[in-house]
Each structure stands twice: as C-alpha cells, then as structure tokens.
C-alpha cells in the first residue's frame, strides 16, 4: 500500500507544486480520522490541495466560506416546509461530505464554529428530531489567515483541541514558484485520476494500527506531552491527553508513510510540532518576548533524552 500512497502524492503533485508538508498532513489526518487546521496566508493552494486529494482518493468534496453572517443551519442543514405535501423536509447542509474545506473558520461567530466542531467530534448531525451519521471517511480541513486579526472570532482552546494537527503553510521555494508560473503559462492542467478506493483506505488505516511502537518510544511520547504542562514562565497551559493519543496515532501513520514497520523517535519528533503547536498556550510574557510555540516544543525536544 505504500506504493499507493506515493501514487497519491504524485497525482496531487500534478495540481499542487510543493507543499509536501500539507499533503503529508492531510493524508495522515485522513488515515487517522483526524481533522486538520491549516494556517497560512491566502494563495498557498489550500483549496487546490484538498480538491486534488478528494479526486485522488475518489472522495466527495465541499467547501464552506465562513463569514460573519453564516448560520449553523447553513452548515448542518435545516427542516424546510413543503407546502405542496404539507410536511417538513430535511435539507442537508454542506457538512454531509467526505472532505470539507472550512475556509477562514475564524471569520464566523462561535455558534457557527461550535456547530461544525461538534459535528467533527460526534461525526453525526441532528436536524430537528432526526440524527444523521456523517459519511466515512470524514475529514475537515479548516483554514485560518494569520495576517488579519480584526473582525475575527478566535477559536477557543477547547475547540482547537479537536483538531488533530495544525499545519503552518509557508510560501513555496523560488524553484517551486517558477514551476507554478510555467505550469499556469502553458495551461498544462492535468486531470487527476482516482488512485485508491474507500476499502483500500480502510486497509491502510488497519495497517497503520499494526505498526510496532516500542515501550521506550511510547514513554517518549508521554514525556514530550507532559513536558508541555510543566511550570514555566513561557507556558500558560499545556497539551491535553488527547494530544498523546493524536501524537501516538500520527507517529504511527508517519512511520507507515515513510515505509517503516516500527515507530522511531524521528517520527514522534516530526509529528510533535503539528500535533502540539495549537495545544500549548503561551503566557503573556512569552508573547511579549516574541516566542513562538514551535520554539517551546523545540526546547522540550532538546531537553528530553531521545531514546
């Protein structure tokens, strides 16, 4: 199945040049049934990547642009009165999909964010008196624009914890941007073929679960997460137990994607940054000093002895 993953990446690369970390993160999220929060400035191919992923995996894709006037019913759906038959009909919202791009999630008020985040956690939606299970697989990729801070509704810490990973997308390298420019200029738009089916996706998930992880390496995961909760003038709060579970799953998925049958500390450290960076709260002192969460995670990794 590892060859299939490489093929998926190659297919996505037809539409998206570079952004390897984002593609890897999305695949890991998909394999582990986790949701992804992506932070990056506009124009970094976030929508294109998710769209390409849905095509390569033959999954249904929908996009919601979050705005201040969005309502929960615009996402989950509502009961609509049918005057001809004098009954209420269920109109399902765009959340009934397999890959959902929640664009600029912090543009909507908390009631809308809560509606989405609840559905993400429960994987089911209740409209009126009826409860509907969301399709499998179901993954949300939510985006945040880090530049504009006015008129946004910051996601609360408890809501952020529901995202498995937070990926920080940076600009492509100069070579990659040259390729992007030439691709657009030549109007070379290659079609993306579906590579795997949902059944094969289930097989990959099961194979990831069977990846071996040594006891010492397991303890290393716990040590890293617990270190974020230790008293420090730079940390306001540390990562939750959910972070341990997510780091455990993501490390296995990363090892699998690297073609290994066991997890090494390299997988754990690589996944520590996206798993922990939205779960560690910085103190005011640290913010004033301009410290980033990644620096805190790096300090923890430097301090702990790698098994």
């Amino acid at each position: 199945m590892i060859d299939k993953i490489k093929e998926i990446k190659q297919e996505i690369a037809k539409a998206v040049i570079g952004q390897e970390d984002m593609v890897n993160g999305l695949l890991i999220g998909l394999f582990c049934e986790g949701h992804i929060l992506v932070e990056g400035v506009p124009g970094l191919a976030k929508t294109t990547t998710v769209k390409a992923l849905s095509l390569a995996l033959d999954l249904e894709f929908k996009r919601i642009q979050f705005t201040p006037d969005l309502l929960p019913s615009d996402i989950i759906g509502a009961q609509i009165y049918d005057p001809q038959n004098s009954i209420f009909k269920i109109k399902k919202g765009p959340i009934f999909t397999q890959l959902l791009l929640a664009d600029e999630i912090n543009r909507s008020p908390s009631k809308v964010q809560s509606a989405l985040l609840e559905a993400m956690q429960e994987r089911q939606v209740t409209i009126g008196e009826d409860t509907f299970a969301l399709p499998r697989p179901f993954m949300v990729m939510a985006t945040q624009n880090p530049l504009e801070q006015e008129g946004v509704y910051r996601l609360p810490e408890a809501q952020l914890d529901r995202f498995m990973m937070k990926l920080v997308i940076t600009h492509n390298s100069a070579d990659e941007e040259l390729k992007i420019m030439r691709q657009i200029a030549n109007r070379k738009s290659k079609s993306i073929k579906p590579i795997i089916s949902i059944d094969e996706l289930d097989i990959i998930s099961k194979e990831i679960e069977q990846i071996h992880i040594d006891k010492e390496v397991e303890e290393y995961i716990v040590s890293i997460v617990r270190a974020t909760r230790e008293s420090s003038s730079d940390i306001r709060y540390g990562a939750s137990p959910r972070a341990i579970i997510d780091l455990y799953k993501a490390s296995k998925a990363h090892a699998y994607m690297e073609g290994k049958d066991f997890v090494t500390p390299v997988d754990i450290i690589t996944m520590s940054y996206p798993i922990l960076r939205h779960r560690v709260g910085l103190s005011y002192e640290a913010r004033a000093k301009g410290i980033q969460v990644d620096y805190i995670i790096k300090s923890i990794i430097d301090t702990l002895v790698m098994p």
Binding site: E20, D21, E258, F262, T264, P265, V266, I269, T270, Y273, D294, I297, K298, I301, D302, M306
Partner: protein
C-alpha cells in the same frame, strides 16, 4: 499695688444714651511717649425690645498705635454687651486725641429669623439699620522722653558671637536678643562699614522681643563697634543703658585667587564638584540602553558568541547527536539527512558520520 489700683480706676467717662450705654476707662491719662496705656471699653444694650449689634474700633492715627488685646461678648436675648481691651502707645508728646468709630446695628427678630432661614444655595441678607454713634475722643497729655532714648520699657539684652578668629571672608555670626515689656519696633543695630560687610536678616519682632541675626565678614582684621541702646523705664522713671561691648575680630588671610567671589563673598574656596561626570555617564548609559534595546543589538551580540547551526553540525560527535540536532531544527531542508541518520541509529545501517555531514553541507 494700691498705686496701680488708683491709677486703674481713673474712669474717663460713663455715658448713657436712650438705648445703649458705654464707658471708657484708661489706666494712665498722662503717659510718657511710647509708654503703654490700657483702654477698657464696655458697651451695653439698654433697649431690650429690639435686636442690636455693635461695631467698635479706635480710629487709625499717626499720633498713636493700638492693639486689641481682649474682647468679650455677652449676647443674651435683646441684651447685648461688649467688652474691649486695647493697648495704646502714644507716638508723640503733648496733647493727643484718640478717636473712635462706633456703629449700632438695629434690627428685628423677624429679620433675624428670615436671614438665618437661608442656606448656602439661598442666601438671605439681614435687613438692619446702621446707626453711627458719635463718641467723644479720649484726650491724653503725653509727657516727652529724652531725645536719645532708643527703648521705652523694661528690657534686657543678650548676645552671642560665635568666634573672634576667622579667615578672610569667612563670616562671624552675631546673634542679639532684646526681651522685655514696652514699645518695640524693628530697627537695625549693625551696619556695614569700610572695614567689614554685614549680612543681615530682617529682625524678628514679637510682642515682647526682637532678635537680630548678622553674619559679618572682612578681608582683614576688624573691630565690631560697641553698641549702646539707651532705655527709659516709665514705671520707675529710670534711664538705663544696654550695651554690647566692642569685639576685635582677628582675620587670617587666604589666597584670594582660590575664592569664588574675590570681593565680598564670604564663601571660601570650593572643591571642584566632579559628581556631574557620574550623572553624565548615567544619562549616556540610559540613553544608549533605550536606543539599542528596540534594535535587539544586545541580543545579536550575544548570539554572535554562540556558534551557528552549521558549526553545531560540524561539532556533532555521533550519529544520534546529529540526528537530535537536525530534528530539533524542524526544517524540511534536513529531511534526507534525517532519513539517513534514522537508518543508521534505528536500523543498524552503516553510513559514516562525515559522509552525512558532507551531504548536509551540499
């Protein structure tokens, strides 16, 4: 005591009008010039059918000065009584008249009730009738004193001179105190001369004393002259002298080039004040700290001392140390090197450390 009593009972006048009565009494009708006399004035309301207020005071004059030393008021209902006591000093001899201002204010109970019914936001004035009362002046026959008399009364003089040997322009301090009963007005007892300079404070005058403080300096030796104050006690009719004897002040000369003021400043040479250098450096340090801190210059200097990441890679002694270093950088630039190192550390493959370092450098 008997004499004092006899003098005191010299009642000048007792006058009765229709509605008020007033009386004046003085203890001495023929005082010496500048001798204190005591005037007692009593004013009483006789018409008890109305409300009255009194305003009384001697008139100002160049012939005498006066001080009110006591006042009593008995403001019983429709029966007002005032008692005034003044000390008066005649300032010239011969016959002088002490005149008075007296106003009687008449009003009614209703007017008073109306006036006091107001408050701070609704002030109601008291409607009253001001009636001037003409009082006969008090005549005194003032006896002259000797022309050279400086003080009239019973006084004692004391003084202190802090030293009689000093340096050029370094002052000697003279403190003089005159204390007693009698007429007191400010005057100077020391004046500058060609030989020395007198720095004087204004004399401090109280009801029974005068204090003088002087600083006297000179370049050379000098003599503080004798001070003689001629006094006259009108009670005993005796003249007396209060004396500060002459004092010879020895002045040791100093090099005038070291003096700040070479003419008459009593300050001697001063050490150079170097404290400004400390202040200057403090300001410079504070300024530079404020200037450089936003630029993070100190941090950059500090970071320069720490070796760069490439140096750290070069110094890594084992595969695991290098792997740890590259992982903590969280940079995709080292992804390939991390994979190689992982294979060596956790898969037992054999790739030399220097070979991996070379790849990283490429």
């Amino acid at each position: 005591m008997v004499i004092r009593f006899l003098i005191f009972i010299t009642i000048f006048s007792i006058v009765k009008a229709k509605d008020i009565s007033y009386s004046f009494s003085i203890d001495n009708q023929t005082p010496y010039k500048k001798e204190a006399i005591i005037l007692d004035v009593n004013i009483s309301q006789l018409d008890h059918s109305q409300v009255m207020f009194f305003k009384f005071s001697p008139k100002e004059s160049n012939d005498y000065i006066f001080t009110q030393i006591d006042f009593k008021e008995d403001d019983k209902y429709h029966n007002l009584k005032h008692e005034y006591k003044y000390r008066i000093y005649p300032l010239k001899d011969g016959n002088i008249s002490i005149e008075f201002n007296m106003i009687k204010l008449v009003t009614t109970d209703n007017s008073v009730a109306y006036a006091i019914s107001g408050d701070r936001d609704n002030i109601k004035s008291l409607v009253k009738k001001d009636i001037k009362v003409n009082l006969a002046p008090l005549r005194l026959s003032v006896k002259p004193i000797h022309q050279n008399t400086d003080l009239v009364g019973d006084f004692k003089l004391s003084y202190t001179l802090d030293k009689t040997t000093t340096k050029s322009y370094d002052p000697v301090y003279l403190h003089v105190k005159l204390k007693g009963k009698g007429y007191l007005e400010p005057f100077e007892i020391m004046h500058s001369s060609k030989k020395y300079h007198v720095f004087a404070q204004n004399p401090k005058v109280t009801s029974n004393s005068i204090v003088w403080n002087y600083a006297i300096s000179s370049k050379d030796n000098f003599v503080l002259p004798k001070v003689v104050l001629n006094g006259f006690n009108p009670k005993t009719k005796q003249s007396y002298k209060l004396i500060i004897p002459a004092h010879k002040i020895e002045v040791k000369s100093v090099n005038s080039s070291t003096l700040v003021d070479k003419d008459d400043n009593p300050l001697s040479s001063q050490d150079i004040d170097w404290s400004w250098i400390g202040w200057l450096f403090s300001y410079i340090i504070v300024f530079l700290s404020g200037f450089f801190m936003p630029h993070n210059i100190f941090k950059r200097w500090f970071n320069k001392k720490v070796s760069s990441f490439d140096d750290k890679i070069a110094l890594a002694k084992s595969h695991k140390e290098l792997l740890t270093l590259l992982l903590s950088s969280n940079s995709s630039k080292y992804r390939e090197a991390i994979r190689l190192l992982e294979r060596v550390v956790y898969n037992g493959e054999s790739i030399s450390l220097s070979q991996i370092k070379k790849r990283i450098r490429r």
